[in-house]
Symmetry: C2
Subunit: 167 residues, 2 copies
DNA sequence: GGAGATGTTCAACCAAGTTGACTAACTGGA
DNA sequence: TCCAGTTAGTCAACTTGGTTGAACATCTCC
C-alpha cells in the first residue's frame, strides 16, 4: 500500500485516459450490479451497445461490428448469444437476401428501458457530487471532441465514431 | 449505414459510459500508434498502468493487481512479460522475503517518459478542439468524482480508486 | 513454536476475441 | 445474359488475456 496511486503522468494530474478507464468501469459495473438486482442475470457487458444500435430500427451484423470496432464474426457470435437470451431476433430483409436484420424483441426493449433508467440514476448520482452543470458540460465537451475529429468522409460530421477506429 | 449511431439513452444525449469508452479507446489507440512509430513495438495496453504505479518507487504484484482490478496471477503474468521485454526488474525485499518488488529499469523509465510525452500531445490536441479550460475542467471533475465516493476506509480520501472496484 | 495471514507462483481452464476459408446473394459492365 | 467482383454472413481453428484452484514460502502474533 505505497504510493503511485495518486501519481499522474503530467503536471496537471493523472492522464485523462486513466480517468476515463476508471469512470467507464465504475459506470458499467454499477449498471450491471443494478441489473442483477433487478433480475437481469444474463446480461453481458457488450449487450448495451447492440440494444442502443437496434433501438430505433433493426440493424445488421456488419453495422454492429463497425460500431463496436470488432470483427463481423465477433459481432455475429454476440448477437447469437443475445438471440439465445431472447433480447433480439434475426429476420430476413425482403430487398436483400443476404442481410438478416437484428431487431429488438419485447424483452430486449424492456432491458433497454431498464438500462436507460439505471444510467439516468447513475448519472444523477454524479450530478449530486460534481453538480448537474458539470455532468452536462462533460457530456457536451466529450460529444464535441469525439464527433469533431476523424476524416471528412461519412464518419465525423456530427456522428459519434465507433468505439475503435475503423482501421 | 443506418441510424442508431447518434441515438442516446437519455434525453440529454448518449450515456456518459459510452462516451468514456470511446474517449478512452481513442486515447489508448493514439498512444500505442505513436509508440509504434517511435520504435516501441512490444508495448502492451496494460503496460502503462504498471509503469505509472512503479514510477515513484518499486511496487508489488499484490498492489498492481489491486490497482488494475485483476487477480494477482494475471498481474504476475503481465509483470513477467514486461520483465521479459526489459521494462521492469524483480528484486528482493530485504525486510520481507515473500515480496519480490517490481522496479522500473532504465528502459522502462524511457518508455514511461515517452508515454507521458505522448499523453501530453494527445491532450493538447483535445485542448485545441474543446479548449484547454474544458480539458482541465474535465480532469478536475473526473478526479473529484472518482476520488470522492467509495467507503471511508483507506481508499477514497483523495486517492483514485482502482480501475475495477475491490469487489 | 504453531496457527493463521500474506505474497507469489504453477497449472489447468475459459471467454471473447482473432484469422482464414467458405457460401450465398447482390451489382454492374461487356 | 452471364460472369467478375463485391458484400453479408457464417463455420472452424486458434490466440490471448484473463480466471479458478492448489501449492509453497515467508511473515506475524499469541
Amino acid at each position: 500500500m505505497t504510493g503511485g496511486v495518486t501519481g499522474g503522468a503530467t503536471a496537471g494530474g493523472p492522464p485523462l485516459a486513466r480517468l476515463f478507464a476508471i469512470a467507464y468501469r465504475q459506470l458499467i459495473d454499477g449498471l450491471h450490479e443494478r441489473l442483477r438486482e433487478l433480475g437481469w442475470t444474463d446480461v453481458r457487458e457488450a449487450f448495451g451497445f447492440v440494444l442502443l444500435a437496434a433501438r430505433d430500427q433493426p440493424t445488421s451484423i456488419t453495422e454492429l461490428a463497425a460500431l463496436m470496432g470488432v470483427t463481423k464474426q465477433a459481432a455475429s457470435k454476440l448477437v447469437d448469444v443475445m438471440a439465445g437470451c431472447g433480447y433480439v431476433s434475426r429476420g430476413a430483409d425482403p430487398h436483400d437476401g443476404r442481410q438478416r436484420p437484428v431487431a429488438l424483441t419485447g424483452r430486449g426493449r424492456d432491458l433497454l428501458a431498464a438500462v436507460e433508467q439505471i444510467y439516468a440514476e447513475l448519472e444523477g448520482r454524479w450530478a449530486e457530487v460534481i453538480g448537474a452543470g458539470q455532468v452536462d458540460g462533460m457530456r457536451r465537451d466529450l460529444l464535441r471532441m469525439l464527433s469533431s475529429d476523424r476524416l471528412g468522409d461519412g464518419i465525423g460530421a456530427g456522428r459519434l465514431p465507433p468505439v475503435r477506429p475503423p482501421s
